[in-house]
Amino acid sequence: MTRPGLVISRISRVLSDYENLSALYALLVVGGVIIGIVTLPFIGYDDDQLYPKTLDPSSSLHPYDRGGEPFGTTDVAAQYPENSPYLGYVTAYLTPFSAFLADSTMHLGTTIVSHPGGITDEILYNTRGLDTVVETSILFVAFAIAAYLFRREE
């Protein structure tokens, strides 16, 4: 069938097939990225970052040693420190087990800081806790979908 406006109907035909959807989206992203590469010279890293990493290789908490004293004040470069009155408490805190590990070896910094406490938990649970709420909800929803589809077959 020949229709007027050949180009338009040809585009319409591609658009109307949802098998082409991801290809179409990929095309858009590729277009965006090309703009990105062209404008790359105008992009610069801002050195005044939130929660910057300050490394102290001699610490047993390396690379997560942020100083501070447990149950005292610790300097944390949060966006709105006034919204988190106990800011820094989580960062400086070590569980007894972590404290033991920290005293006995130099090479378990990651493990120690991941054990409840540390700067990452400070961010994830305290200052940006809402992110974590959303994120666990996403996992919850995704699993509900998978479980529903999986169990329906039984």
């Binding site: 406006g5 338009i8 109907s9 585009i11 319409s12 658009l15 109307s16």
Partner: protein
């Protein structure tokens, strides 16, 4: 406020009637009297009303109320000089009303209407080009600021001409009998409104009438500026008649072609904005 709402409703319905009349005359038919749509709405208000058994009852009624609600809110934004982003947001949310109308009834024709309404959702895209371009000139999206800007710099119609075209296209796609009005094409009966009759249909007519008034008035305010009411009405009528001419002489596009046309217009204006930005920056 309430009296203005009724006034807008009356004018909107009258515009619908004039629209039909102009189309009929262009096509060499006598056409209905211009107050036909007002009579229609009155007639529907007093007819027997019930909800189809197959419908999702709550939704079936709620969308009608939402339709009236959002367009009354839109009128309020226009009068109070609020944000045109919100105004266009409401325009987008109107889409939800269209979907809801068609989907809630359970009727296959309503459903087809709703599906077409989903397909034609690209008709919103030109709006964002409009918003972007206007912001580019005025650095504000508050209607009051835009009006103030035009008093100093002259109508935006000249400065931001592509944006005016985009918005013109948007109004065109929402008008009855337009080449983009695929959701109420006659082959699917009345499209997504098929199952809404009686008082529900009257409610929809009310919402749509306010919508037509709001869109035309917004066009005048955004691109020409604040005018005395009578002049503004006259201008709106002129725009409407020009739209009616287009509706009368152009065939309805196939559903996917409407998407393509509208997307292409948006893309062209987006490129225009970027080029303008690069040149002026």
């Amino acid at each position: 406020m309430i009296e203005y709402l009724i006034f807008a409703l009356f004018i909107g319905l009258l515009f619908h009637g004039i629209h039909r009349k102009v189309i009929a005359r262009v096509q060499g038919r006598p056409g209905p009297p211009i107050w036909q749509e007002i009579l229609h709405t009155l007639k529907f208000s007093f007819k027997e009303t019930w909800i189809p058994k197959t419908a999702s009852q709550t939704l079936f009624v709620a969308v009608v109320l939402v339709a009236i609600g959002i367009w009354s809110a839109a009128l309020f934004i226009l009068l109070s000089g609020g944000s045109i982003l919100l105004l266009f947001g409401i325009y987008l949310l109107h889409k939800i009303v269209e979907h809801g109308l068609g989907l809630s009834s359970g009727s296959p024709y309503g459903k087809f209407g709703a599906i077409r309404s989903v397909i034609s959702a690209a008709s919103e895209l030109p709006l964002f080009a409009t918003v972007g371009l206007i912001y580019f000139f005025t650095h504000s999206l508050m209607l009051s600021d835009i009006i103030a800007y035009q008093q100093v710099h002259g109508p935006l119609l000249i400065a931001a001409f592509p944006a005016a075209i985009a918005m013109y296209l948007v109004i065109l796609s929402k008008l009855h009998y337009s080449p983009f009005a695929i959701i109420e094409a006659k082959e699917i009966v009345s499209g997504n409104m098929t199952e809404h009759f009686g008082i529900w249909r009257a409610g929809l007519e009310v919402g749509y009438a306010i919508k037509t008034y709001v869109l035309l008035y917004a066009f005048v305010l955004i691109f020409i500026g604040q005018l005395p009411l009578l002049a503004a009405l006259l201008l709106m009528l002129l725009i409407l008649v020009s739209l009616s001419f287009i509706c009368a002489v152009s065939p309805m596009l196939s559903p996917y072609d409407t998407v393509t046309v509208q997307s292409l217009v948006t893309g062209a204006i987006a490129v225009y904005i970027i080029v303008l930005g690069v040149i002026l920056a």
